[in-house]
Structure formats: structure tokens, C-alpha cells
């Protein structure tokens, strides 16, 4: 395969509107995404980044497609690890589909190269982040271990 791709699917008991806000708004992301926030004007072509509590970027890119409450496509480059930065831009897609009293969230993260270190690394991170997001929306509490930025990183 000339590409690396992972797909994550989770059903969350919420509405597309709430899930959308939780994915991009700082007061939500801080709670389930290690204390980080995302900054963007959220329109096609706008730049986008994830900021650590100290303001440094962990990842950044551009908004490729945006359809509020339905679909968001971002280019995504990591800035924390030089060998992942060297891989260049990956592509991340959120798809939200209402299903009964839940929303099916599909996260696709892919890059046009085989054996990507970035895609492998995020495959450890996404399940943790998404499980915490689900917990936050369904119970009001995110999961321990995702609530603040790890010391020393």
C-alpha cells in the first residue's frame, strides 16, 4: 500500500451540533484533549493549529473542507517529533452522521506514504482522546489521563 490510514468509529449519545462544538471549541477540547485548544477561523483555506497550554503548537495545517455539524477535513503536520514533521502533511477527516439518539463519528487519519510514523503514533492517541470525548458528552466528565498536558512533554 502506498498510503497509511487508520479509521476510528464511535457512536456518541449526543447531537451533531454539540459534538461539533466539542471537537473544536477550547472549553471542550481542554477537557478531553490533554488541556490543548485548537485555533482557526474555521473556513476553507484558513490555518489551523493545536496549542499546548503554554501556547506552543503540537500540530498544524489548513482547513480543506468544512461543513458545520457534518464534515471537517484538515491537513495536519506534527511539530513535536522531528521524524514525524519530516513526513509532511497528513489528512484528517471528521464525519458526523446522526443515527437514532446517537451520532456516528468517523475519524480518518491518512498520509500518502507507507509505514508512516505519524499515523502509527496517532493510532495510540485517537482511541484515548475519542473515548474521553464520548465520556465527556455522555456523562459530563472526561477521562482521567486526558484532562491535562503531561508534565515534561
Amino acid at each position: 500500500m502506498a498510503e497509511s490510514r487508520f479509521v476510528y468509529v464511535t457512536y456518541i449519545r449526543t447531537t451533531p451540533e454539540k459534538l461539533w462544538r466539542a471537537l473544536i471549541e477550547p472549553e471542550f477540547t481542554r477537557q478531553f484533549w490533554m488541556g490543548t485548544t485548537q485555533e482557526s477561523e474555521w473556513k476553507p483555506g484558513a490555518s489551523w493549529r493545536i496549542a499546548k497550554p503554554n501556547g506552543d503548537s503540537t500540530d498544524s495545517g489548513e482547513v480543506v473542507e468544512i461543513e458545520p455539524h457534518k464534515r471537517l477535513v484538515l491537513t495536519w503536520k506534527n511539530h513535536m517529533f522531528p521524524d514525524m514533521t519530516a513526513e509532511g502533511f497528513s489528512r484528517m477527516t471528521y464525519e458526523l452522521e446522526p443515527k437514532g439518539d446517537t451520532v456516528k463519528l468517523t475519524v480518518t487519519h491518512e498520509i500518502d506514504r507507507s509505514g508512516s510514523k505519524l499515523i502509527k503514533a496517532v493510532s495510540n492517541g485517537w482511541p484515548m482522546i475519542l473515548a474521553s470525548l464520548k465520556s465527556l458528552l455522555e456523562t459530563g466528565e472526561s477521562l482521567e489521563g486526558t484532562q491535562r498536558w503531561p508534565e515534561g512533554l
Partner: protein, 112 residues
């Protein structure tokens, strides 16, 4: 605590069949395969593989993606992650991993 949806029954039922665990192993080895690729080297009819994949998809153990006219199948780690969070999240992962590695070494089997 992690929330586990009522659909957790579907996950355990889906995992209860050796054919479906084999399909998950095939995806673990090579993620993103078509139905045709998954049918190769399988001792099952195409219809049987289709049925098993549908159950895996309903249990969200498999996520699918259309690329042009091809439907690709991916191992979705979310349900098993939620199960692990619920029942083993409180244990020290490092020690569990060390025990699993010790077992693998002693038994000389990389697939458990």
C-alpha cells in the same frame, strides 16, 4: 470511568466467533482491505465473509470507507479500547504488558 454503550453485547457476540477474529487478525496485519482481498486464502464462501463483516461492522469492530468504487475495511480499535478502559484501566499497564511479554517469550508464540 469509561462509558460503554449497551451495544457492548454486540461486541462480545461478534468476538465470540473464530472466523470473525480471524478477519480482525487479517485486518490487523494489513488494514484497509476490500471484500475480495479478505476472501483470498479464506476457507469460507464470499457470502459467509460478507455476513461476518456485516456483524463486525454493526459491532463497530470494523469501520468502512469508500474509495472510488472500493469499500475498504479497517480494524476499529474503539470498542476494545472502551472495554479495556472499563475493566483494566485501573491496573498498571506497564506491568500487564510485562506479563504479556513474559508469557509470549515462555510460550514462544507471537500471536498469543
Amino acid at each position: 470511568m469509561a462509558t460503554v454503550s449497551a451495544d457492548v453485547d454486540k461486541v462480545f457476540k461478534a468476538l465470540a466467533a473464530p472466523e470473525r477474529r480471524l478477519l480482525l487478525d487479517r485486518l490487523r496485519a494489513d488494514n484497509g482491505q476490500t471484500l475480495g482481498q479478505l476472501c483470498e486464502r479464506m476457507d469460507m464462501t464470499r457470502q459467509a465473509v460478507t455476513r461476518h463483516l456485516r456483524l463486525l461492522e454493526e459491532a463497530t469492530l470494523v469501520g468502512t470507507l469508500w474509495r472510488g468504487r472500493e469499500k475498504l475495511h479497517y480494524l476499529n480499535p474503539m470498542p476494545i479500547h472502551e472495554i479495556a478502559e472499563r475493566w483494566i484501566g485501573k491496573f498498571e499497564r506497564g506491568r500487564l504488558r510485562a506479563l504479556a511479554e513474559l508469557k509470549t517469550k515462555l510460550e514462544g508464540d507471537t500471536d498469543g
